[in-house]
Structure formats: structure tokens, C-alpha cells
């Protein structure tokens, strides 16, 4: 097993075009996940084609709040991941197919995974 994995960076502006390329080549969206790393938030898009995994990594500044375009026009199933990123990390996702407006998860603390100010 132990497939080689890389997380190549991509700009926010180039994201949609690259995701369209993946869709057109037949890749399945495996997941979209965020991680707070220092003062930034890394958003990872993972795709599968016949068992091969490929990733894209967008880095966002935590201040702002961070904004990213929705890919739900390309992969309709992405709206769940995007609402999750909003509710846990305070990432503003523009153009989601279904926007739960912060009510996707009922958390006691708002945006519990967002980077804390030091």
C-alpha cells in the first residue's frame, strides 16, 4: 500500500480552473478538509481516479475572515465539506450550492477549529 502522496500548492484564483480539469478527466472528489497551521489555514482537495489519489492545497490567511470560492458548481457534493469548513474554521465559501448559513453543525463554541489569536 503506502502510496506516494504530495500536496501541491495552488492559488485561490487558480482553484476553480484546476478543479474543472480534475472533473473533466473523471476524477472523483474524495474530500475537502481544512487544517489550521500557525496563522494560516490549509485547505486540501483530494481526488481519486481508479485508486490513485491526487491533492490540491490552498493556503489562506486566517485573518479576514479567509475566503475561498465554492467548487459546488463543479462537484455538487462539495457543499457539505464547504459548510463544514465554514462552521468549524470560519472560512467564507462564496457561491455554495446549499448554504446552511452557519447552522450545519451546532457547536457550543463558534468556529472551534479556527486559529486562535496569540
Amino acid at each position: 500500500m503506502n502510496e506516494e502522496q504530495s500536496f501541491p500548492p495552488i492559488s485561490v484564483e487558480g482553484l476553480l480552473a484546476k478543479v474543472c480539469e480534475f472533473r473533466d478527466q473523471g476524477w472523483r472528489l474524495v474530500q475537502i478538509g481544512a487544517a489550521a497551521v500557525g496563522d494560516a489555514i490549509e485547505v486540501t482537495y483530494s481526488f481519486d481516479l481508479g485508486g490513485r489519489l491526487s491533492n490540491l492545497r490552498v493556503s489562506l490567511p486566517a485573518e479576514g475572515p479567509p475566503r475561498i470560492p465554492s467548487v459546488s458548481s463543479v462537484y455538487p457534493c462539495s457543499f457539505l465539506y464547504e459548510n463544514e469548513m465554514h462552521d468549524l474554521f470560519r472560512i467564507q465559501v462564496d457561491g455554495m450550492a446549499v448554504d446552511f448559513k452557519g447552522k450545519f453543525y451546532r457547536t457550543t463554541v463558534p468556529f472551534p477549529f479556527a486559529p486562535r489569536k496569540s
Binding site: 500500500m1 503506502n2 502510496e3 502522496q5 500536496f7 473523471g26 472523483r28 472528489l29 474524495v30 474530500q31 478538509g33 487544517a35 489550521a36 497551521v37 486540501t44 483530494s46 481508479g50 485508486g51 489519489l53 491533492n55 462537484y75 455538487p76 457534493c77 457543499f79 457539505l80 465539506y81 462552521d87 446549499v98 446552511f100 447552522k103 450545519f104 453543525y105 451546532r106 457547536t107 472551534p112 477549529f113
Partner: protein, 358 residues
């Protein structure tokens, strides 16, 4: 025709766990659906800040009360890959055996719930009666019935001796015979077919576009199963994904029924080939790196993303569960169906809200 909004869940007789569907219906026909989860979000991913990476195996196992073992296994695989730990072959085989026993009891549990949802109570009880026999094997070999506590980073905590393997094989023969009887009813009984055939159709294209996984994906004709990646002992025990072309509720039931016998076959092959030797290696140091591990849970592909920076506590731990990936498909299957078919269609993705609300 006027539309009526009907709330389905989060408390509903067919749902053991909370998920809410806002159903827009015209007469008895569903025309639109909006799903809502998040009623019991547990924030387990946040616990990596308090539990070190070795202790966290126990947390990962508790993400789900049904497929707990494979959660722990996937977490261990991700850490082992980052730390370049070579798991002993015997441990990889033992993981395969316990993983397939988990699939057996999960599918039997689901078959029982499905039978219950369309009012076939005796079939429900027979399914769960057989499941108890699988749980007995798990209890005899791990000490637990649902939470095994047997997987650890670097291998497994317990071995199975040759006598126990012989007992297991005899029990599997009995279980297989019992399963043949109920599967015959699930697949061929006219009342069951009446409720399942042609209900909740998901085409191959829709299943792919919506990111479906597991039996939900394979019942729409796509041959994808993460066991083909060759994790645990699947590099030496290859499998062929079981598919159906129809994409309806009966096809999803049919795939799971066939996977019962596939799991029994895998366990037999694993027992026949299991090598002697150590069951764990010592793991020293802390992980540093990132990895996205994928395995095949009973409900489909689970993805574990782990990021570590050399400290005892991980930087990020994230799980994408199979139910989370199958929810968009549910939204696609429901419009056009009869209101009475909603519980059955919801069940056919085998929703696990415990996993989803990790």
C-alpha cells in the same frame, strides 16, 4: 399542486441516530429534500490537542460503534506510513480477519434494520440472531464485542492461536449456512422485492458525480473498493469488487448480501495463509509529516488525514466518513419517490450518524 413541508427526523422510528430531512411533498410524492446533520457533533477531531498520538487510537476506535475496528486500523495505518513503520505480516493478516468480521456484523445489522423498516420482523430477528454469532467470534478473539481495542500503532495487541482459528472456521461454516437462508429471502421474496426494486434509483453517472462510496457506489455499477489498494493483507488476498448495474434499493441490498459471503471467503483465505511471527513492533519517536489514509469500511471508503510536526500531539486529525460522502446521493435519490419509501431509501445508504458526527 400545493407543496407541503414534512420534517423527517431527527427523531424517527427508523432512525437510531439523529439526521433531519426537510421533505417537500406534493400529495404523496417527494419533490425536494434538504438534509441537516450536526445535532450531536462531538468534535473528536479536536481531541488530538489533548491526547497524544499513541492514546488517540482509542479515540479513533470510538468514532463508530459498528465499524470501530477499521477506524482504529485506518488511524494506525496513517501514523505507521508517516513514521515508516513496517507492520509484521501476521499483524496485517489479523487486522484483515477482524476487519472482515466487522464487515460481517455491520452488514447483518443493516439487513436487520432494513427488514424492520418494511415490517418484516421475523427476518429482522433472524439477521440479528446470526449477527450475534459473529459477535461471539469477535468476543472470543478480542475480549470485546464492538470496541475491540486490538489495534495499535505498529501491529496488534492480541494473537489468535491455531485452536481458536479452527473454532472460528467451524463457526463460519454455520454462519454461512444461516446467511444463505436469509439472503434467499432478501433477494427473492416477492414482498421484499415489492418494496425495493426500482426504488431510489441512482445512476452510474450520478453516483460518480456525487462522490458516492462503498455499496452505494458499487450498486450503481462502479467497481471501486478501497481493499484493492492492498492495505493490511489485501496485497496477498486480492478481491474483486461486487457490483450491480441497477442502482436501486434492491441492488444496494444485493451488493451487501454478496459481500457477506465475500468476507467469509476472505477470512478463510487469511486463516489458510496467515504467517507465524511477531504481532507488533516497537514504535519510538513521534510522527512528522502528513498522510491521507483510505480503507474500505462496511459503508464505504473512509479517509483519514493526519498532519504531525514531530510533537506527541498531532497538528490535525480529520476523518471523512462514508456516510458523509453518501449524503448528497441521498438527496438525489429521494425526489420522485413516494413518502412511504423515504425510510427505506434513507436506510439503503446505511447511514451512520455516529461516524458522521465524529
Amino acid at each position: 399542486m400545493p407543496r407541503t413541508l414534512i420534517p423527517f427526523g431527527p427523531q424517527h422510528p427508523v432512525l437510531p441516530e439523529p439526521i433531519h430531512l426537510e421533505l417537500a411533498v406534493e400529495d404523496e410524492k417527494v419533490v425536494d429534500v434538504i438534509p441537516t446533520i450536526g445535532f450531536v457533533h462531538r468534535g473528536l477531531e479536536k481531541l488530538v490537542e489533548r491526547k497524544d498520538f499513541q492514546e488517540f487510537v482509542y479515540v479513533a476506535e470510538r468514532i463508530c460503534g459498528i465499524c470501530s475496528f477499521i477506524h482504529g486500523q485506518t488511524y494506525c495505518q496513517a501514523i505507521e506510513t508517516i513514521m515508516k513503520v513496517d507492520v509484521p505480516p501476521r499483524a496485517r493478516y489479523l487486522r484483515t480477519i477482524w476487519g472482515e468480521l466487522s464487515r460481517l456484523h455491520s452488514h447483518l445489522l443493516w439487513l436487520g434494520l432494513l427488514a424492520d423498516s418494511f415490517g418484516f420482523e421475523s427476518l429482522f430477528m433472524h439477521s440479528w440472531r446470526i449477527r450475534e454469532k459473529v459477535l461471539d467470534i469477535i468476543e472470543a478473539t478480542t475480549g470485546g464485542r464492538v470496541i475491540f481495542g486490538s489495534c495499535k500503532i505498529g501491529g496488534v495487541r492480541r494473537d489468535i492461536d491455531p485452536a481458536a482459528f479452527q473454532t472460528m472456521l467451524a463457526q463460519l461454516n454455520e454462519i454461512e449456512k444461516d446467511m444463505r437462508e436469509i439472503v434467499e429471502v432478501f433477494l427473492n421474496d416477492s414482498t421484499v422485492k415489492e418494496r425495493l426494486v426500482g426504488v431510489g434509483i441512482l445512476t452510474k453517472g450520478e453516483a460518480h458525480a456525487l462522490g458516492c462510496v462503498g455499496p452505494t457506489l458499487r450498486a450503481s455499477g462502479i467497481a471501486q473498493d478501497m481493499r484493492q489498494l492492498g492495505y493490511a493483507a489485501f496485497d496477498e488476498i486480492p478481491i474483486e469488487p461486487i457490483t450491480r448495474p441497477e442502482g436501486d434499493s434492491h441492488a444496494r441490498c444485493s451488493v451487501r448480501c454478496a459481500e457477506l459471503f465475500q468476507s467469509v471467503d476472505i477470512i478463510r483465505r487469511a486463516i489458510a495463509r496467515i504467517p507465524a511471527g511477531e504481532i507488533a513492533v516497537k514504535v519510538t519517536g513521534n510522527p512528522n509529516g502528513e498522510y491521507l489514509a483510505r480503507t474500505e469500511q462496511p459503508r464505504g471508503e473512509v479517509a483519514y488525514y493526519i498532519k504531525a510536526n514531530g510533537a506527541k500531539n498531532l497538528q490535525r486529525f480529520r476523518v471523512r466518513t462514508p456516510t458523509f460522502a453518501n449524503l448528497p446521493a441521498l438527496v438525489k435519490m429521494l425526489p420522485g419517490c413516494s413518502l412511504a419509501d423515504v425510510p427505506i431509501i434513507v436506510l439503503t445508504i446505511d447511514p451512520c450518524i455516529s461516524c458522521t458526527e465524529r
